[in-house]
């Protein structure tokens, strides 16, 4: 197990080095020309540009440029050039909103996904099963930001069927109830996309597991059907769902969550990057890209370990 952990961590470290180098290429090399005025953004002064040229060692060879970029990212001295705000601090400010959104939505989609999957497996072939398949397809076909806009239009304050507040994020420590009420709609919108999909995956897993020998044994020795379902079938069908959930949860932080935060104006990390697109302000996008990718790479190591712990068959020796 320890060797596995070490090997996995070394691999992750190499990926991180490569990822940061690609980020350097995207932001400094690809556009071509002199990067200093570009990194400085539209509102930069000559002094800004000179600062950047000196700080990023733009007259030096590429490896020292790369090193300078990494230093400015990890010592937290990287600044946005349209607002002059510190990128690392802005990202830190956005983390509670982003984690509240993704963790809450994750709990909803996992919980309802399992419920829906079990129901459709138990009633396989009947109407409820077919309804779930159709809903799953519609769910993966909707743009999340559009669903968010429509729900704001229908259900948020000042709108036709108003019963929830409209967007914005309230800190959990500031007011737990307002935190919950404000996040309810973003959570649901983000989760809807996954519930049907998880239901479908779990359904096929359960249907595969039901035909296993040990399930027949459990039934033959006279266990009540509910106990067979929960203890023998479900427990084994859930293992692939855990891996899937880990991957999707990480992907959502760098994907659908950006769009959801933007639509509901939650001021999370993703929205911070998205807002910088309009002003072509590259440092925030660079910071968010590299931190989110680092988080996802390390998170996938954790998921692998969890998977090995849950399923002894794949545990390395």
């Amino acid at each position: 197990m320890l060797a596995f952990l070490v090997r996995r961590l070394v691999g992750a470290f190499l990926v991180l080095v490569a990822v940061s180098f690609i980020t350097y290429l995207i932001f400094v090399k690809i556009p071509g020309g002199d990067p200093a005025p570009r990194i400085a953004g539209r509102l930069a002064t000559d002094q800004n540009i000179a600062d950047i040229r000196q700080k990023l060692h733009l007259n030096d060879p590429f490896y020292s440029q790369y090193w300078a970029m990494m230093q400015s990212l990890f010592t937290g001295s990287l600044k946005s050039y349209s607002s002059q705000l510190n990128v690392v601090q802005e990202i830190k400010r956005g983390i509670p909103a982003t984690l509240s959104l993704t963790i809450g939505a994750g709990i909803i989609w996992l919980g309802f996904g399992i419920l829906v999957g079990v129901i459709s497996a138990v009633t396989a072939g009947r109407l409820s099963d077919r309804v779930i398949t159709v809903l799953a397809l519609i769910g993966i076909s909707m743009p999340v930001f559009w669903l968010g806009l429509i729900s704001r239009y229908l259900f948020a304050e000042g709108h036709p069927l108003s019963f929830l507040p409209d967007g914005e994020y309230v800190g959990l420590t500031v007011n737990p109830w307002q935190w919950f009420v404000h996040l309810l709609m973003p959570w649901t919108v983000l989760a809807v996309l996954f519930i049907g999909f998880y239901g479908r995956v779990l359904r096929s897993n359960v249907l595969d597991t039901i035909n296993e020998d040990y399930v027949r044994t459990a039934k033959a020795k006279g266990l009540p059907p509910r106990r067979v379902l929960v203890k023998h079938v479900l427990r084994n069908s859930l293992i692939p769902i855990v891996t899937l959930f880990g991957l999707d949860f990480a992907a959502v932080i760098g994907g659908s969550a950006i769009l959801t935060e933007t639509v509901f104006n939650l001021r999370g990390v993703g929205q911070y990057a998205a807002d910088s697109v309009q002003s072509l302000d590259l440092p925030p996008i660079m910071g968010v890209t590299i931190y989110a990718t680092f988080f996802i790479v390390l998170f996938s190591v954790v998921v692998d370990l969890l998977y090995a712990w849950l399923d002894p068959r794949i545990r390395p020796t």
Partner: protein, 358 residues
């Protein structure tokens, strides 16, 4: 039905059985069998027809703008009026006091359907532009980016997977690490980063020159970020195929690398490639919409379904049709492709588990 009642069911009796049904046993190719399965799947075919109708409608954007609506996608009609049922109506309301009651200004006219003789069928936007015309032109751009990036992405992923799987060794190692590396980035964030960086000066390297407002930028960005999502599963399939006897037989007959890759390996993964292609178009249309919604995809004044929703976002209370209508277009297109893709997979290989992760 069979007239023979023998229980000895040998090959001869099978031939006799077929002869009784009016013909010898004919060899059916897997493609023919798949087509026969698909032909019975009316739901999948119906949604394919829906997709074709949407594509044809978007292709007719030019004639529609010219002959029906009488305006281009970027022509603004602020301060103008049009005739509706014999009355003059403002395209975008000027507001102010009329007859003692206050009316808010800057509100565009809503969907007219056919009441204005083909003008403003889906209403106008805040610039007084015809939403229906922009919807069709935007659809054309969304479809160009979606289908174009799907083509490029599938082609590159396929060639890389064939090379990696066939040659193995260090070639495979390099290509597999390349896939892993793109895979490590979150799809949308990498696309935003590339889209924004490229929208500054365009791309001018390796003798390729792309201007900053070009549709090629979102197309290439999306195809690049999604390559591992097709390349990785295809590589896996090829790695298991290349150990099979028929590859060994082909090599023993003196077939070279290109021949084995394209006439032995390719036909065996063609069905997966086809299914991936249908599903990735759907996925790419959604990615384009998200990118353009954030401003890192199709650049204004070029419309796309994503930019249309972004334009309508701030007007969701006063002019909800601006955001709702392009969204419905996206949902119908993507749903049609997803259902058809599912049907195609069931027809080509009922046991396959091909899935696009996102």
């Amino acid at each position: 039905m069979a007239t023979e009642s023998t229980t000895d069911f040998s090959l001869d009796s099978a031939a006799a059985l077929a002869a009784d049904e009016g013909g010898a046993i004919e060899g059916k190719s897997p493609w023919l069998l798949a087509w026969r399965r698909l032909r019975r799947n009316y739901v999948a075919l119906g949604f394919l027809a829906l997709f074709v109708v949407i594509v044809v409608m978007c292709l007719l954007a030019g004639p529609y703008a010219h002959h029906v609506a009488g305006t281009g996608p970027n022509d603004n009609h602020l301060g103008e009026t049009f005739t509706r049922d014999g009355k003059q109506v403002e395209v975008v309301s000027k507001g102010g006091f009329t007859g003692g009651t206050f009316k808010a200004g800057g509100i565009p006219v809503g969907p007219q359907l056919w009441h204005a003789g083909g003008k403003y069928v889906f209403g106008a936007d805040t610039q007084g532009r015809d939403v229906a015309v922009r919807l069709l032109y935007g659809g054309l751009n969304s479809l160009k980016v979606g289908i174009g990036s799907a083509l490029i992405c599938t082609l590159f992923a396929l060639v890389l997977a064939l090379i990696a799987g066939y040659y193995g060794g260090w070639v495979d190692w390099v290509i597999a690490r390349f896939f892993d590396l793109i895979w490590a980035f979150p799809v949308l964030l990498l696309a935003i980063a590339l889209g924004t960086a490229l929208s500054i000066n365009g791309f001018h390297h390796f003798g390729i020159s792309i201007q900053s407002g070009s549709l090629w930028i979102p197309t290439l960005v999306i195809s690049y970020v999604l390559i591992p999502y097709i390349g990785r599963p295809l590589r896996g399939q090829i790695l298991s195929l290349r150990e099979k006897e028929f590859i060994e037989a082909a090599t023993a007959q003196g077939a070279g690398g290109v021949r084995v890759m394209f006439s032995e390996l390719l036909p065996n993964i063609a069905s997966s490639v086809l299914v991936f292609f249908a599903l990735i178009i759907a996925n790419n249309i959604l990615t384009e919409a998200g990118l353009s919604f954030l401003g890192a995809g199709v650049q204004p004044p070029n419309p796309s379904w994503g930019t249309l929703i972004a334009d309508g976002q701030s007007r969701i209370q006063t002019a909800p049709w601006l955001a709702i209508i392009p969204g419905i277009a996206i949902v119908l297109t993507v749903l049609a492709l997803n259902i058809f893709g599912d049907g195609l997979r069931d027809a080509l290989d009922p046991r396959a588990k091909v899935r696009i992760e996102h």
